[in-house]
C-alpha cells in the first residue's frame, strides 16, 4: 500500500538522492580531497624530495614532526611520495576506466543489439574475458607490450583491456531489455538503421547504468594499477602508490619493521578505492529501484 508513495518520493532527481545518501557523500568528500591533493601536489610537497640523490632525511626513520609519515631507505619523506604518487595512481585509474567503459559499452551494446553470428561471437568474446583471470592476462600483456610505448600508457591500456568484460555483460543485458520495448519496435518499423537505433535509443537508456558501473570500475582499475606496480610492471620513472609499496617490500621494510613505509601509501590506496566503491554503491542504489531498501 505504501508502494506508490515511496515511488513518487524516489522519482526526485538522482543528484538530490545522492546528496541525501550518507555513504555516497562521504565517498565523494574523500575523493574530492584526494583529487585536490593530486592537482596541487607540487604546492603541497617539493617534487625534489622524490629524488634519491636530493633526499636529506634520516634513513628509514619512524614518523616525526618533520616527516609525519616517516622516511624510506634513502631518506625521502613517505608523505611527499604519497602526495605525488596520487597523481599517477589516479591518472592511470581514471584513464584505464575510460578505455574500459568505452570498450564495455560498445561491445555490450553491439552484442546485445546484433543477433546471429556477430552478436554471438561478441558475446563469447565477452564471456571469455569474464572467465580468464585478469592478473595473469595483464601480466602477459604488460610483458609483451612494445617497449617504445611509454610505460604509463602501456599500463593504462593493459588495465583498460583486461577490465571491460563486467561492464559489457551488464550493458548487454540492459540493451536486450531495452530492445524488447515497443518504441524500439517502432524505430525498427520506421526503418531506423542499426546505428540510429543504438545511438538514439539504446545508448541514452544504458548510460545511467554505465555511470554507476564506472565508479566501481575505477576502484578495480586502481587496485590493478597498484598490483601491477607492486609486481614491477609499472612505470619505473614515476612514483605511484604501488611503486612505493613495491620498494618498501623489495628494499627491506619488513626486516626493518618500517611499518610507516607501508602504512602511508597503503591507507591511501584503501581510502581511495573504498571511496569509489562507496560512491558506486550509492549510485547503484539510486539508479536501480530493485535494490530499494538495501543499505
Amino acid at each position: 500500500m505504501s508502494a506508490p508513495a515511496a515511488a513518487s518520493r524516489r522519482r526526485s532527481s538522482p543528484w538530490r538522492a545522492f546528496l541525501r545518501d550518507r555513504e555516497g557523500m562521504s565517498g565523494l568528500i574523500v575523493l574530492t580531497l584526494f583529487g585536490l591533493v593530486a592537482i596541487f601536489a607540487s604546492l603541497l610537497a617539493d617534487p625534489a624530495g622524490l629524488e634519491v640523490t636530493k633526499a636529506d632525511g634520516p634513513l628509514a626513520a619512524a614518523p616525526s614532526w618533520d616527516y609525519p609519515l616517516g622516511t624510506d631507505h634513502a631518506g625521502r619523506s613517505v608523505l611527499t611520495m604519497v602526495i605525488h604518487g596520487s597523481q599517477v595512481t589516479l591518472l592511470v585509474g581514471l584513464a584505464a576506466t575510460v578505455i574500459s567503459m568505452l570498450l564495455g559499452t560498445l561491445i555490450g551494446i553491439a552484442s546485445g543489439h546484433f543477433s546471429g553470428l556477430f552478436g554471438g561471437a561478441l558475446n563469447r568474446f565477452t564471456e571469455w574475458f569474464l572467465v580468464i583471470p585478469y592478473l595473469p592476462l595483464a601480466i602477459v600483456l604488460a610483458t609483451v607490450f612494445p617497449p617504445d610505448v611509454p610505460k604509463l600508457i602501456a599500463v593504462i591500456i593493459v588495465i583498460g583491456v583486461t577490465s571491460w568484460s563486467g561492464t559489457a555483460r551488464l550493458v548487454r543485458a540492459q540493451t536486450m531489455a531495452i530492445e524488447a520495448r515497443p518504441y524500439l519496435e517502432r524505430a525498427r518499423a520506421l526503418g531506423g538503421g542499426h546505428w540510429h537505433q543504438m545511438s538514439r535509443h539504446v545508448l541514452p537508456n544504458v548510460m545511467p547504468l554505465v555511470l554507476a558501473n564506472t565508479t566501481l570500475t575505477v576502484s578495480i582499475a586502481i587496485i590493478a594499477e597498484t598490483t601491477l606496480s607492486f609486481l614491477g610492471l609499472g612505470d619505473p620513472l614515476r612514483v605511484s602508490w604501488g611503486r612505493v609499496l613495491d620498494e618498501a617490500y623489495a628494499l627491506g621494510a619488513i626486516d626493518r619493521g618500517a611499518w610507516w613505509w607501508v602504512l602511508g601509501p597503503g591507507v591511501a590506496v584503501v581510502l581511495v578505492v573504498r571511496a569509489f566503491n562507496m560512491c558506486g554503491r550509492a549510485l547503484e542504489r539510486i539508479l536501480d529501484p530493485r535494490l530499494e531498501g538495501r543499505s
Partner: protein, 350 residues
Amino acid sequence: MNGEQRAPQAQPDSGTQARVPHARTAGAPGLLEIRDLRVSYRDRGVPLPAVRGVDLTLAAGETLGLAGESGCGKSTLAGAMLRLLPGNAEVSGEILLNGSDVLKMSWGQLRAVRWNEASIVFQGAMHALNPVRSVGRQIAEAILLHAPKASAATARKQVGELLEQVGVPAWRAESYPHELSGGQKQRVMIAMALACSPQLIIADEPTTALDVMVQAQVLTLLKQLVQERGVGLILISHDLSVLASTCDRVAVMYAGRIVEQGPGHRLFADAAHPYAQALAAAFPVIGDMASRRAPRGLPGDPPDPRELGGGCAFAPRCPVAVAECVEYDIRLRTVDTERSAACVHVGVSA
C-alpha cells in the same frame, strides 16, 4: 479452553450503532473471536491504516468468506491472525483463538499455536512453496515440528496419506514445486495446511492464479475436507461468487472495515450495502447470460488510506450517497436477523 460461552454472541462495544446478533447455526463456542482489530503500517513514521476496527467470530466447523478488492485489508487480516505481518505493522485489538489472545502470546506460545491450531493455505500456485525443497519435505517439516516424537518414517507415511487425500499421488512427495502444475501446488498447499490437524484454516486467495476448472476442483476439495474434519474455515477471495457458493457466512470488506455480513447466498443475491451490491454485480451469475454480457463495474478506485476522513469510506464512489455519509462514520447496523450492513440506508429501509 473456551473463554467465551455466550451464544448468540454479542458484538464487542466498538461501534456506536446497533449491536448485531449473529445467527449461528449451532450453539458452538467461539473458535475464533476478533474484537476491534486495527492494523496500520508505518511508512516513514506515518501510520497507514489497513484494517480499521474489525469484529469477527467463527465457530468450529463454520465457514466464513471474506470478500473485497485488493487492498481492502483482507490479506492483512489473515496475516494478523497468526502475527505474520511485517515489522512495520502495528496491531491492536484482540484475536482470541480458543479463548487465548494471539496478540498477547509470547513467541514460544505463538510458534506452538501456528499451524497446530490454525494454519494458512497460501497461494500455492505462486511462490508460497520453497522452490529448492521437495514438497514432501516441506509438509513433513510441519509435522515433525509440532510432533517432535514422530519419527521420520511416520512423518513420511503421513505425508503420503495427506497427499492422497488432496488428490495428489503420494510419489509426488519427492517432486519439487516447479515440477507440479498450479492446481497440484495448490493441493499440496492444502495438504500442508491439514498436516497438523488444526481447528482453523485460513485460505488466502487459494484459487486466484488457477484456471476455472481447477478453481472449482480445489474449492470443492477444501469444502469437503473442512466438513469431514469439522474445521473452521476462513476463505478469503476477491470473487464474491466463489464465496457465496462455498461459505455459510460472508463478510464484505471495504477500506479496512466490514461493510456487510450475512449468509453467503443472500448477500450475493440481495446485498444491502451499495458496495456489496456492486461487488456482487461485478461477477456474472452462472447460468444468467444477461449478467455475463453486461458485467457492471464500479467507477473509481479504493480510497488512499492516508485520505480517509471521518465519513463513510465508500461515499465518494457510492451511487446512493447522501450528505450524512460524508459527515458520519457509519458502523454495522442490523438488516434482519441474520444480516448487518454499514450503510445509512439500512436503518431507514429496515
